[in-house]
Amino acid sequence: MPRLSAKSATLLVLAALVVVSPLFFPSGYYYRVGALIFVNGLAVTGIVILTGYAGQISLGHAGFAGIGGYACALAPVHLGLPPALAAVLGVLISGALAYLVGRPILRLKGYYLAVATLGFGILVSMVLNNERQLTGGPDGIIVPDLGLRGLLKDWGLNISNGEFWYFFCGIALLIGAWIALNLRQSPTGRALRALHGSEIAAQTVGIDVARLKLQAFVISAVYASVAGSLLALQNKFITPDVAGFMHSIEMVTMAVLGGAGSVLGAILGAGVLTLLPQVLTVFAEFEQLVLGLVMMLMMIFLREGLLPSLLRKLRGRDE
């Protein structure tokens, strides 16, 4: 029997989840929850590339999500760009900032990136909170409609707003996962995982470690930016919370919970931590307590994350 590659298997599972899940939705509200899971899954897929593949960590990725989100709010109004192009502008700004911030830092040890990104995230959220004339401050700002659903209606495809964003974000997640999985088995991805394993050895086989880390950082910033744009566009509203410290922490926690080295695992982690507050209303009260605990417990007892550990166990039983 020809064996399914890990990449195809992952994509099939994801596609099946996107298509089949709505059959079990108790109400239309769950399209919204689903879309939220996909958006978070997309952001966390970027963390997989940075943390899972390359072994680096960012504590300020929400900053890039904020840039992506506010680009969609501001560029249409101030620059007259259509919202879709505004998202592209967000990607360009996020990528450029990631490059500028990452370049001096990624030559050094791991915790420098953690601290600098922490500072970066705080800075972005501070700008968004304080530049009231531009961003509306802590109260947030309205985001123009993407306009695609109207276009679909003109073409005779009439779906609800919830359904539209559910499938739109689902497709975005599938594309994001496909790209991350492509990268994993590619020469660049192999070099990233190699430098994660041993920087010294990676250097001696000719890998320009600093340059590759920078590439991973920029790519993952682009993921966060797109996720931020999708979030802003579907909510038609955005507040500085999207760029906040706790949002950065959420992303990291989602990744390490499911498994930062595995695209499917990280998306699973995003699913669990997105669903939790929906199911348990008291969760919001204890969010920090839970996130902090999950981070510590996973790193001490289950460093690979839930899904890879589970798969390893199952495989162990087969043999």
């Binding site: 192999r190 190699a194 994660h196 041993s198 250097q203 001696t204 086989v205 000719g206 320009d208």
Partner: protein, 259 residues
């Protein structure tokens, strides 16, 4: 022109001279061995030559060009490759992937092509994989290709590291105790492999504790003691040198006395 030439290389850590004024030369096809008691500075010398440490004095010339203190990844693209005394394997990857990583300089290309799985990216990856499989066969690891590297025995990991270093098609190969921890049969195999590689025109610089191996395959031996070169010459000459015997046997005796 000499392929690799080291002139007056020296480094100090916290005021203590770890290596002082060491010079040597390696030509294509030659196997030059560096021997000396523990703490003589052999690995430190390797780390300076391969760009991991910045020497305080002296220079390293590769094909006549000054490459002193150049970053290891740049040296790799100029044809220098090495293995490590205490193994630097990519534990998070399979055996095959470790070997493919050695082909990085040949398989790397546009990141965008890699992200989108374009034909050019697949072609590069396929070529590297074919090369890696051939190398694994050469070191006798073809059947372990899909295993996780961390699960291999010590001797196999040593060979995997050599395979990875050979993947660069180096002009100069630095081997830091390739036979350490290997049994007699494995040592024999590594011995043969090194001789073959040298015969194909690669300049080899070797640090090794197994004296029989050193005496058998070296074309030239350099003896270090307490960071300084105390003797050099053909294996037979060096083994008769009184200074070498004193330094070497002295420390051997000390080691015996300790044990």
């Amino acid at each position: 022109m000499t392929l690799l030439s080291i002139e007056g290389l020296g480094i100090a850590f916290g005021g203590i001279k770890a290596v002082h004024d060491v010079s040597l030369k390696v030509d294509p096809g030659e196997i030059v061995s560096i021997i000396g008691p523990n703490g003589a500075g052999k690995t430190t010398l390797f780390n300076m030559i391969s760009g991991i440490y910045q020497p305080d004095s002296g220079c390293v010339l590769l094909e006549g060009e000054d490459v002193t203190g150049m970053a290891p990844f740049r040296l790799a693209s100029r044809g220098m490759s090495r293995t490590f005394q205490n193994l630097q394997i990519f534990q998070n990857m399979t055996v095959l992937e470790n070997a493919i990583a050695g082909f990085h300089l040949q398989e790397r290309g546009a990141v965008l092509a890699d992200l989108l799985h374009l034909p050019s990216s697949r072609r590069r990856a396929r070529a590297a994989e074919a090369g890696a499989r051939a190398l694994l066969a050469r070191v006798g690891l073809e059947r372990a290709a899909d295993r996780e590297a961390g699960s291999l025995s010590y001797g196999s990991l040593k060979r995997l590291e050599i395979a990875r270093a050979l993947a660069l098609r180096p002009k100069v190969l630095l081997l830091d105790e390739p036979a350490a921890g290997c049994n007699a049969v494995e040592t024999e195999e590594i011995d043969q492999l090194i001789a073959e590689v040298a015969a194909s025109g690669v300049a080899i610089l070797l640090v090794e504790h197994d004296m029989k191996l050193v005496m058998r395959i070296s074309s030239h031996v350099v003896v270090l003691d307490q960071g300084e070169k105390i003797a050099e010459g053909a294996p037979a000459e060096v083994s008769r040198d009184p200074a070498v015997i004193a330094a070497y046997l002295g420390s051997e005796e000390a080691a015996h006395a300790d044990g």
